[in-house]
Assembly symmetry: C2
Homo-oligomer: 274 residues x 2
């Protein structure tokens, strides 16, 4: 059982809202935390975003996102590293619980999947000291294997944990998003193994058929095939007591008024996880 | 290196061809084996299909497919079991190397994934003795995790092996299809573990973006992101010396004349695997 006092809005769910609108929406809905996206934070300005969440007394459960570590070209790689350092600075300013990292797809490695995966390990090695110094926790997010080619070569929670383990848990953790991991026959074992590495728990549902753009096929909690309690139980058993973000990429939900989306979020969260 | 003498046509690649047309096409192209589908075998008649492959001296590398074990309703379950026994009879008559099994999605189990997965184990328990008596090898095929909800709750090679191991290897093996397993960080270890359990090796490529119907997004070997040699090497090292089927679901390829498709298959196979 997870109470509504741990429900957080991930800004991707109300993609059309600016930071200020999302902050106001959370206040109206009595939601205590928000996962912010760098695009909207950039549009609002970092200082203004910090001021907005502070004024509202809103906690920042995550900043989304850094990563995209798989460029092979030295200039592209240097640019990615610089951008990730900026993302760490932003996460520090926002006092976000975690900076979510999506590793990037095959990209410059062509068809060499092991090579692309080792570029992710290299990037973490470079970023972890900077994150530690900045007091920012990095969260490696495994994405569903269907995104392996074009978006994220980290495909399982086990793999994310292998990448995180060389670093202090306070510096590098993992992100558990039900959409990406629900199918994994090894999930319970990996959640037990994760322990205090779980830096973020995100929820949305798997709805079939998927739409043409696979990125946008996610549904409200309860609308699809995922048994949320079955995943939440080992997340809790691992010791996770943090915020639970509802993060949904879905054109229809984006076209819905934000306040209505937040009401639906609260209802479905209470029903499926409360 | 895999020679063209091990190349087989899976009939799904030339979906519009009848059994007789596919057999003739293989003969014209000098392809020595064919993976048949039950729909086309049913349309042609089993006896006629057996006669066609015998007359042509063509080996049947697989029969596709049995499975769909996840119905909970007793009548639906009994019907599925009866259909799988018929599939075993057909595989025996065709002297197919393997009857490919796709487990079925969540179906009647609702959101209970572990329950659906245990129904697959139960079904194997019921079918394995019949397959053994019939001299037919069952091949459990893990499908890509994106099909977990609606088509196949067996999502990894490791899981397929766990299901196969209680039975003699000659009775229950696994099917390795590059499209379904290429992303798996545990693939090499599981292929080594598989040893003589590998009952079929199927190849096609992962092309992005996927089309609206995810089933039909596969590409010719070499057209996408899969490194075929990297997967073929541990398959060979595990001891697999059987046929390698090209199995592609793709509307554009289906609209191409079959002889042209077979030429492309031979060229790309020689380039990417030869």
């Amino acid at each position: 059982m997870i109470g509504l006092d741990r429900l957080a809005l991930n800004q991707a769910t109300t993609d059309r809202w600016s930071v200020a609108e999302a902050v106001d929406g959370c206040q109206r809905a009595g939601i205590g935390a928000i996962g912010l996206w760098r695009r909207q934070v950039g549009e609002a300005g970092l200082a203004e975003s910090v001021a907005a969440v502070r004024r509202a007394g809103l906690h920042v459960s995550s900043l989304c996102r850094g990563g995209f570590f798989t460029a092979v070209d030295p200039d592209a790689r240097a640019a990615a590293m610089a951008d990730n350092r900026r993302a760490i600075d932003e996460a520090a300013a926002l006092e976000a619980d975690v900076l979510v990292l999506v590793s990037g797809g095959l990209a410059g490695s062509g068809k060499n999947l092991p090579a692309a995966r080792s570029l992710v390990a290299d990037a973490l090695d470079e970023l972890a000291p900077y994150a530690q110094k900045s007091g920012v926790r990095l969260g490696i997010e495994p994405l569903h294997p269907m995104f392996c080619a074009d978006r994220c070569v980290v495909s399982t929670l086990g793999q994310a944990l292998d990448l995180a383990l060389p670093y202090p848990s306070a510096t590098v953790g993992v992100v558990v998003d039900t959409y990406h991991v629900w199918w994994d026959p090894d999930l319970d074992a990996q959640l037990a193994r994760a322990g205090d590495r779980i830096a973020s728990f995100q929820v949305c549902d798997w709805v079939v058929p998927l739409p043409a753009d696979m990125l946008l096929g996610r549904g409200h909690v309860g609308d699809g095939h995922i048994d949320f309690r079955r995943i939440a139980a080992p997340v809790e058993a691992a010791g996770y007591r943090g915020w639970v973000e509802v993060e949904i990429f879905n054109e229809k939900i984006w076209a819905t008024p934000g306040d209505e989306t937040l009401r639906t979020m609260k209802d479905t969260f209470a029903r499926e996880l409360g």
